[in-house]
């Protein structure tokens, strides 16, 4: 079975790109290929100028990845997670920013708690904190907002925007179309492993001849239902 086929896209520095699609469209597979967790059977993934197959270590040094369902180490505290990630990326000097990141994500009070004792939302926040604690150039988020409380969602979105302003490239897979519409500079819509549409929301409206007040959700449903039919 082919999960993703003939997919080609670029995320530029200083850009947030949303990866959208119904369940089973291939979003997670795509993101996992970018994170070099899966090997594409053909083609290349270039991260910050490095091919993830040929030079995975250099490519991953530039990458921060947040999985869909984060599984923290049960026997590591919140702070120890950050310390390990900083050591893995060789950026221990960045640990100075750990307090600020944890405070913003409401994790500072829980910094000495073990991963096993964290709730689902807290685990998600911890994975995001680990992504922001090193000097990543490219961020890959797989459904990062699921399980977060409203304050956490807002804080995470604002952290993403800040990173965009600092010139980082951000790829987010999400089902939250209203968030994607407001947050992303461009969207890529996948269905059954194939790219069916790509561009800004305005470009999509123009191409699909949608009315000015139609939302990304309307266009998404129209596109994916046409394909289904």
């Amino acid at each position: 079975m082919i999960a993703v086929e003939d997919l080609s896209f670029t995320v530029n520095p200083g850009e947030i790109v949303g990866l959208l699609g119904p369940n089973g469209a291939g979003k997670t597979t795509t993101i996992r290929c970018v994170a070099s967790l899966l090997q594409p059977t053909s083609g290349h993934v270039i991260l910050n100028g490095h091919d993830v197959t040929d030079d995975p270590v250099a490519a991953k040094r530039a990458l921060a990845f947040v999985p869909e369902v984060p599984n923290p180490y049960e026997m590591l505290t919140v702070m120890e997670h950050l310390r390990f990630v900083a050591a893995a990326y060789g950026t221990e000097e960045e640990m100075g920013s750990a307090e600020q990141i944890l405070r913003r994500l409401d994790l500072w009070e829980k910094r000495f708690e073990l991963g096993a004792s964290l709730s689902k939302g807290m685990r998600q926040k911890l994975a995001c904190a680990c992504a922001f604690v090193h000097r990543a150039e490219v961020f890959c988020f797989d459904e990062p907002l699921i399980g977060l409380d409203p304050k956490g969602m807002r804080e995470l979105k604002s952290m993403m925007v800040e990173r965009r302003e600092q010139g980082n490239a951000i790829l987010i897979s999400t089902h939250m179309l209203d968030t994607a519409e407001r947050l992303c500079d461009r969207v890529i819509i996948l269905n059954r492993g194939k790219l069916i549409e790509e561009g800004t929301v305005a470009e999509l409206k123009e191409r699909l001849s949608s009315s000015a007040d139609s939302s990304l959700e309307d266009m998404f449903l129209a596109l994916t239902e046409v394909i289904e039919d």
Binding site: Q39, E74, M75, V85, A87, A88
Partner: protein, 550 residues
């Protein structure tokens, strides 16, 4: 490497801290360490001295037969190690590793090195298992520890030799796991080859007797193919100075690490598949019955188009038993036909040996029975774990708790009975000496003894239900062994009259008088503990249940 070392150190530090803050984990661990220390001390120092008074070759078992058995056992364990490499388990990491280590810029070689301690531990535990089997063989045959000329071999040499031998094959297995992405067919071929080899050895034993088996073990092809096993067997025999074989084994072990670390193959994808499969099952087990069913369905993808595998029958706990039977019938070979056929094969070997070399048969039968009991208990443990996680579904059902326990353990126990039927059929047909008592003991005593252990295991699983906690699982295993001791002691004492009167029937009836009430008591206890488990959903201690009852 520094990051991985830091990760391991932090995990270890926190595990120890958690362990010391929980007396329920700490106390059994202290007892376990004392036992392990005592045992290792005996192996290292005590046994040699204890046995030094015995003359070489005094025991029932000829040193040549012992050497052949030791080598073949090691070949089997080595082949099983390679077989493991072709399966899923070696490449399974923790879900946390997939999320945090795999996407990080830590090289794949370092990630493999991170896996090495658990691989080493696995090899060491297998080595100790083989050593225990060999010790049992020596005790059962009253063979002296010193079978050869070398009187000064310390006990730790055998442990180290076995570890290096099994470790070599485990490292090769790991290399295969990393290098060969699609291993399913190779796995099937190797498993078939192992089974065929066993059948072949059985056939040789039938035709050529013990001499035939010795000839197989001495075949130069087999010795060359499994040179590390050959060296380890040499060490076990104490027949020559241990230095050279131990040095060669160390060389083999070091060499086996080279291909593993020389390859830079991307094993992450296969590893994620294995890890997610195990993680899903583990999570599902915690999440309850429906999610466990979903995870199992995703794993096996059964293609049956029939509504039911077996026609529904019974109400209450019988219906529950039917549900388990229905599930087991979807894999009839492993659940029903397999045990019966293995029993038949083992029974045939024993029946033939009873005719030609009765001493060997009296050794082989208990070994087969002991080993199969361990396998059946492992199956029953899985069944217990799955059943206990179905509390959410089970608690509203109008079934008496102990009936539920019996229904949950019914299917694994049927496999035991089928295995026993397989063993006794050739014995009954061959009409060898003492066959009625042997058939009776295998068909009646053994299933009841195993049933009581199964229920005991169910109780320990209730006490240590967290599958994700490896320390807890290790302690559960130990507590099971500890609580089995009184049963074993009782059984041994009740065998004494039979031994004194030289009557197997007296021994067997004595055992039944002990094991049947023990089984009833354990079932009742398991039921009580299950009721408590349903109410609280937390681990339940045996002590708490007994205290509440009184």
């Amino acid at each position: 490497m520094r990051a991985i070392a830091l990760l391991s150190a932090l995990k270890f530090k926190n595990s120890i801290r958690t362990l010391f803050s929980d007396p329920r984990k700490l106390v059994p661990l202290v007892i376990l360490l004392c036992f392990a220390g005592l045992y290792m001390g005996l192996i290292a120092f005590g046994l040699n001295h204890a046995s030094s008074t015995e003359a070489p070759g005094k025991g029932v078992l000829d040193p040549q037969i012992f050497a052949a058995i030791a080598f073949l056992l090691l070949v089997l364990v080595s082949a099983a190690a390679i077989d493991t490499g072709l399966g899923d388990s070696l490449l399974a990491f923790g879900m946390s590793d997939v999320d945090y280590v795999f996407p990080s810029p830590i090289s794949r070689r370092v990630v493999l090195a991170y896996k090495l301690p658990s691989l080493t531990l696995y090899s060491a535990s297998n080595g100790i298992f083989v050593l225990i089997m060999i010790s049992i063989l020596r005790l059962a045959t009253r063979s002296p520890i010193k079978l050869g000329v070398n009187d000064h071999q310390p006990g730790w040499v055998s442990v180290l030799g076995l570890f290096l031998c099994i470790g070599t094959f485990m490292n090769l297995a790991m290399y295969i796991s990393v290098r060969v992405p699609d291993r399913k067919n190779y796995h099937r071929v190797l498993t078939t080859l192992i089974l065929l080899s066993l059948v072949g050895i059985g056939a040789v034993a039938l035709r050529g007797g013990v001499e035939g088996v010795i000839a197989v073990a001495n075949s130069s092809i087999l010795r060359t193919l499994f040179e590390p096993a050959n060296l380890a067997a040499t060490i076990l025999q104490h027949s020559q100075p241990f230095g050279p074989p131990l040095a060669y084994l160390a060389l083999f072990y070091s060499a086996s690490l080279i291909p593993m670390f020389a390859t830079n193959a991307n094993f992450y994808e296969q590893s994620i598949v294995s890890t997610e499969r195990m993680g899903a099952l583990r999570k599902a087990a915690k999440g309850g019955y429906a999610s466990l069913l979903a995870a199992n369905a995703a794993k096996y993808k059964h293609k049956s188009t029939k509504e039911y595998t077996l026609r529904p029958f019974g109400t209450g706990s019988t219906a529950l038993f039917w549900a388990h039977l229905c599930a087991a019938a979807k894999k009839p070979m492993s659940n029903f036909f397999g045990p019966a056929l293995i029993g038949l094969g083992a029974g045939t070997i024993v029946a033939v040996n009873l005719g030609s070399v009765p001493e060997a048969a009296y050794i082989v039968l208990p070994i087969i029975i002991l080993y199969s009991a361990m396998l059946f208990l492992a199956t029953a443990k899985t069944a217990s774990e799955n059943s206990i996680r179905r509390r959410e579904l089970m608690s509203p059902l109008p079934i008496k708790a102990w009936h539920g326990v019996a229904a949950n353990l019914g299917v694994p126990w049927i496999a035991v009975v089928l295995f026993c039927l397989g063993i006794v059929t050739p014995l009954a047909i061959a009409h060898n000496a003492n066959w009625p008592i042997m058939v009776w003991a295998v068909l009646i005593n053994f299933p009841i003894i195993v049933a009581s252990r199964m229920v005991l295991q169910y109780i320990t699983v209730l006490g240590y239900p967290d599958l994700a906690d490896k320390v807890q699982q290790f302690l559960a295993m130990f507590m099971f062994q500890l609580f089995s001791m009184p049963l074993l002691i009782g059984e041994v004492i009740l065998c004494v009259p039979g031994l004194l009167l030289k009557s197997g029937w007296v021994g067997s009836i004595g055992l039944l008088c002990f094991d049947i009430p023990a089984l009833v008591i354990l079932l009742t206890l398991a039921g009580k503990i299950t009721e408590k488990a349903v109410a609280t959903g937390e681990p339940v201690s045996l002590w708490a249940t007994i205290r509440k009852r009184s």
